[in-house]
Symmetry: C2
Subunit: 336 residues, 2 copies
DNA sequence: TTGTAGGCGTTATCAA
DNA sequence: TTGATAACGCCTACAA
């Protein structure tokens, strides 16, 4: 309970050197070898640690990056964060992670929280379409990088994947396999990725002159339950699909559970392509075909981009980085 | 790019009132109605926001709680955090979330990071058994609350569940159902929860005079893949189990996938009890029996406890709060 | 009720 | 190379 705040002053008392000399030591300035050693010794003996808050006040730099995502229970976000952190850590930046529980109001609050904490940069996967707070941060000199979606007309660096073509390729594979009734389980409506992935689906059908059947398009919630539910709905159609494309990881898990519950024979009765997590694709039987996003890569790219911005390099602003997805077709897809 | 830091000084210039009067306004002191209004107006016109860093330096209070968990890709942790945040937010505390990627060294670093950020309290689900850094924080007056495990001999507030009895009850149900060959898929060895849950299993067997077969005990990694793998291993035994208890959520998902892949008939060939997430239990067929931990409750209890400590109330220290789990037996368990 | 002054711990500037 | 001093923005005695 005793506050034992050791400050430079204590080091000063112990060594006799001035504050500025000690400060210089801390910040890697030049000083006489003898003095350096004496100070070093005193510091380690006292267990002195510079007060980061005071530093932050003085320098208006906190060497901290704020990360804001819609929800913590989403593999895509958390995997990216983990990768991102590694790079940032290597560059001696700390990370503050926030989630907004998919609530626009809280999102605004949290953005403000990060700004209040004087983070040197913000990485966010925006939930609402309102970029007011982010624009504010950006204007006041805090670089912002958005992941996974665009927030037009807000001018901002963005890192995302080529959702449209990813989706297009997956559906194309199914078409090439001879499928004509192809179901899709999308995310929530009005979400950027949902729209892009749906567009890819529509374009593929269009390009191959397959007529559209709206009953084959389902909108879920990007979670396990809705994957289960939407697959069940698709399977209960009178005119069942012969193939289904599921557009995120959690829903893919749910869909597989439904498939198993309904004892659907994959791929003989139904072909399926899922999303993300190649590990999973190896773990289920038959091996699951998946479109996988380069999550680690995204994390790294985002981290490097924000580092560049925080270093004051504003070249090519706003930078839109579109990474390519990969597709692995396995036994879960059958030619008919 | 232009730093437009508006400070109290600007408010002073605009209103003519002194710094302390304005400060008083900010901190809810008494001032004349007229002045209050004038200041309020100036503040909102200027868009002034008190600098939290400066406040932190001055008050050595940041109204921020640090949260440190082993991994972000774990439903249990993230659900607790989400619940916890709600309570903290209501009390005007912000939260800094950190994960250590299940790496002891990074865990120590992150703990230090939180201390450096001068958080007012730390909530952690420790990964390593080394409590040095936490003890340091605690000693310097930052309350620490541990969740989900104990870190003896470190004296600390703890919130966890009654793992042993939860496990005991689940296994007991299977035994009552007539099962004698009961498999268990545990977490990694030497982990607190693994040990407690295994103890419950062993004790139940013992209490009911069922002889122990070590081949029925598998240690996984608390993730989907290992659930899949360990269930497959159990099913490949010559002398198969008739029932299996899976001891966390991710492994339960994996186990279900394996069950489906292997076309195991639940509950006729195999009874199964999983862990956590009642939603899931409703979503699969047959409905899954689960032991569920009160994750939201844990979050709330933890938040309240740390709030109490941060308010200087150290009564009943160290407090060990053991919450009860719930069990729902459904069609996935069959009497034989 | 309002204002003055000093300090929280650090660093940058400038002089020695 | 080292040291004194003045900030960074805010809050709290204390005095008026």
């Amino acid at each position: 309970m005793i506050k034992l705040a050791i400050t430079i002053l204590d080091v000063q008392k112990k060594t006799g050197y001035s504050l500025s000399t000690i400060s210089k030591y801390l910040n890697g300035g030049n000083l006489r070898e003898k003095n350096r050693i004496a100070i070093e010794k005193a510091i380690s003996e006292l267990g002195f640690k510079p007060n980061q808050i005071a530093r932050g006040l003085r320098n208006s730099k906190t060497r901290t990056v704020g990360v804001l995502i819609p929800s913590l229970s989403n593999l895509f976000s958390t995997t990216i964060i983990t990768a991102m952190e590694k790079v940032l850590q290597k560059n001696e930046y700390g990370v503050i992670i926030c989630d907004c529980g998919e609530n626009a109001e809280i999102e605004a609050q949290k953005t403000q929280f990060l700004i209040d904490k004087k983070v040197d940069g913000i990485i966010t996967m925006p939930f609402s379409l309102d970029s007011t707070h982010l624009a504010l941060a950006q204007k006041s000199g805090v670089p912002v990088v958005i992941i996974d979606r665009m927030l037009s007309p807000f001018e901002c660096d963005v890192v995302l994947v080529d959702n449209l073509n990813a989706s297009y390729c997956a559906v194309e594979q199914l078409i090439i396999g001879g499928h004509k009734r192809i179901g899709i389980i999308c995310g929530p409506q009005n979400i950027f990725t949902t729209e892009e992935r749906l567009k890819g689906y529509l374009r593929a059908l269009d390009d191959y002159y397959i007529s559209l059947d709206n009953t084959l398009i389902k909108f879920g919630d990007y979670n396990i339950e809705s994957g289960y539910e939407k697959l069940t709905e698709l399977w209960s159609l009178e005119n069942k699909p012969t193939a289904i494309f599921v557009t995120n990881y959690e829903m893919t898990i749910g869909a597989i559970m439904a498939i198993n519950s309904l004892s659907i024979d994959v791929p003989n009765e139904l072909s399926i392509i899922g999303f993300d997590n190649i590990q999973l694709s190896a773990v289920v039987k038959p091996p699951l075909s998946v479109v996988s996003q380069p999550m680690e890569k995204i994390g790294e790219v985002v981290a490097k981009l924000i580092l560049k911005r925080m270093n004051g390099d504003n070249s090519d602003f706003p930078q839109i980085l579109r990474l390519k997805t990969e597709m692995e077709i396995k036994a879960s897809v059958k030619k008919i």
